[in-house]
């Protein structure tokens, strides 16, 4: 009996509390349902005809000297790494979209530039056709070149991403995806032209034709690209440099390619199992004329520890046609200043502060360029006999 009285209140308490919880649960569930249907109505009103996305980067980089790796010297400022982009995606029909991306860069006084502007159409589930202004699909990260947030590093490896400064073209492409059992094969063909002022040259590509093939099983990725074009390259930075020394170059002196055949080949490889991320690219640039033909490669490895991903990169670039540049632009300025050779070593860390915001710290050491300073500040390297440079970068990347 005593035992019963001891147990009864306990039993009551046990049986009663779920009952109360049950009715509260019911009320909450009903309210939840009502809220959900209201939310649903709201959703159907906006119904995603127009979407806006954006990305933002800012940061600071400083080099130990004037070598000018990625144009960073001991005087670089915050604005140089800052950019803000806004992208609008407009559904034209069920199968067609218009996409426009505006990018403003601190290094260009925030003057907005249209980087993407194209119409896309999907006639079938597997085929996508696009026409307009798009990114040159030369590299694995070409498409999201400036979207720092989508990249593991503070900057794409300069050895591979540096030699081709043109980043976009106007034309059309077709992408066909074959969904296999546990993998997907993507074939892309593109054609168009380019006319772009980059940081060291004014380039023009005519009759650009190329193709990419990529395969992924969601763990491994393999990509190949080949492209050919008639290229004209005006070395504008060289001309400016000569001017700053009071040298007036005769017309045509700085034209380092003039409608010459240019070929680009690239092989890419990626592995990402969620913990380890390994990326490697090997590229070759061949242009008739004085423009430097370069071979380059990098391999990068990173490991995720929760929100923190340390990485290390080793890169290399070397011009293969130094014997074609034996002359001089003008007396005292040998063509050999376009010869390129460099080894790059980076260690860095990416910290995902919150979803959509990542902070990156990077230390890059580049060396071996004292004889072939192409792509760097040649005069500083040669005059000061610089044979290595250290670059420290702190960068904040965001996508929204």
């Amino acid at each position: 009996m005593k035992r019963f009285f001891r147990i009864a209140p306990l039993a009551l308490a046990i049986s009663a509390s779920p009952a109360i919880a049950q009715s509260t649960d019911n009320t909450v569930a009903q309210m939840q349902q009502q809220l959900d249907s209201m939310q649903q109505q709201l959703n159907s009103v906006k119904d995603e005809r127009v979407r806006f996305n954006g990305f933002f980067s800012t940061g600071f980089a400083r080099a130990s000297n004037e070598a000018g790796f990625d144009r960073i010297t001991d005087e670089s400022s915050v604005a140089d790494l800052s950019l803000l982009a806004l992208q609008g995606t407009f559904d034209v029909t069920e199968k067609s979209q218009a996409v426009m991306q505006l990018v403003g860069r601190g290094s260009e006084d925030w003057e907005p530039i249209i980087e993407w502007a194209y119409l896309s159409h999907r006639p079938t589930n597997n085929l996508q056709l696009r026409a307009g202004k798009m990114r040159l699909p030369f590299f694995m990260y070409s498409d999201s070149l400036e979207v720092g947030y989508s990249q593991p590093w503070a900057r794409p490896p300069e050895s591979v991403y540096g030699p081709v400064e043109s980043t976009s073209y106007v034309g059309a492409d077709a992408t066909y995806t074959v969904n296999l059992e546990n993998s997907a094969l993507t074939l892309q063909a593109f054609t168009g032209f380019n006319d772009q002022d980059t940081r060291s040259a004014s380039t023009e590509f005519r009759n650009l034709v190329g193709s990419t093939v990529s395969w992924t099983d969601y763990l491994w990725t393999v990509r190949a690209v080949a492209a050919t074009t008639e290229s004209t390259v005006e070395a504008t930075r060289l001309a400016l440099l000569a001017q700053s020394y009071g040298i007036q170059l005769p017309p045509g002196t700085t034209t380092i390619a003039d409608g010459d055949r240019g070929n680009f080949y690239g092989l890419g490889f990626g592995y990402d199992d969620g913990t380890w991320q390994v990326i490697s690219e090997v590229t070759r640039v061949e242009v008739d004329g004085r423009f430097a033909d370069t071979d380059s490669a990098y391999i990068s490895a990173g490991r995720r520890f929760g929100n923190v991903t340390p990485y290390a990169v080793v890169g290399w670039v070397e011009s293969q046609d130094d014997d074609e540049r034996t002359g001089a632009f003008i007396p005292g300025v040998p063509e050999a200043i376009l010869n390129t050779r460099r080894d790059e070593y980076s260690v860095g860390v990416r910290w995902d502060i919150t979803p959509g915001v990542a902070l990156k710290a990077d230390f890059t050491h580049a060396r071996g360029f004292e004889e072939a300073p192409g792509g760097l500040n040649q005069t500083d390297v040669l005059e000061q006999g610089i044979n290595s440079t250290n670059v420290y970068t702190l960068k904040l990347d965001s996508a929204f």
Binding site: N43, Q101, T177, E181, Y218, P355, A399
Partner: protein, 137 residues
């Protein structure tokens, strides 16, 4: 004996969690079944279609939802960090938009129930007959 019944009680309390299983759900007007590969292709932006040819509208639960991690663990094999970076790449290359996020399982169910061509996923215990279970990955 009392000890055993306590163990039984404890296991009954625990089992709903242990047995939690994510299922792929679809709009009642959609196809009756779908394969894991087809679902993965949809959630990794490689396909815009349901097996019956309808344009698909996938829905996603927010990061941190247990059903979300289980779904991606079983179907796409990607974690939240990989998905975030993957979609930022897709969005800014104009290849597509991530599945629309629903704040909670109730909202996921309501959206799938009311959007033709939609698919989503829920813990099996959350499913009722307003939606159709089309795959248990």
């Amino acid at each position: 004996m009392k000890k055993y019944s306590l163990i039984l009680l404890a296991s009954m309390l625990v089992s709903p969690l242990a047995l939690a299983e994510v299922v792929v759900i679809g709009h009642p007007g959609g196809p009756d079944s779908i394969t894991t590969n087809q679902v993965r292709d949809i959630y990794l932006n490689r396909s815009q279609q349901l097996p019956d040819g309808q344009k698909v509208r996938p829905f996603e639960l927010p990061e941190g939802a247990p059903a979300r991690s289980e779904f991606h663990d079983k179907v796409t094999g990607r974690n939240d960090a990989q998905l975030k970076s993957f979609w930022s790449q897709q969005v800014f290359t104009g290849r597509g938009q991530p599945p629309q996020e629903q704040g909670n399982p109730g909202s996921m169910k309501a959206s799938v129930a009311s959007t033709p061509g939609s698919i989503g996923y829920l813990d099996a215990s959350e499913v009722d007959d307003s939606v159709k279970v089309i795959l248990t990955p």
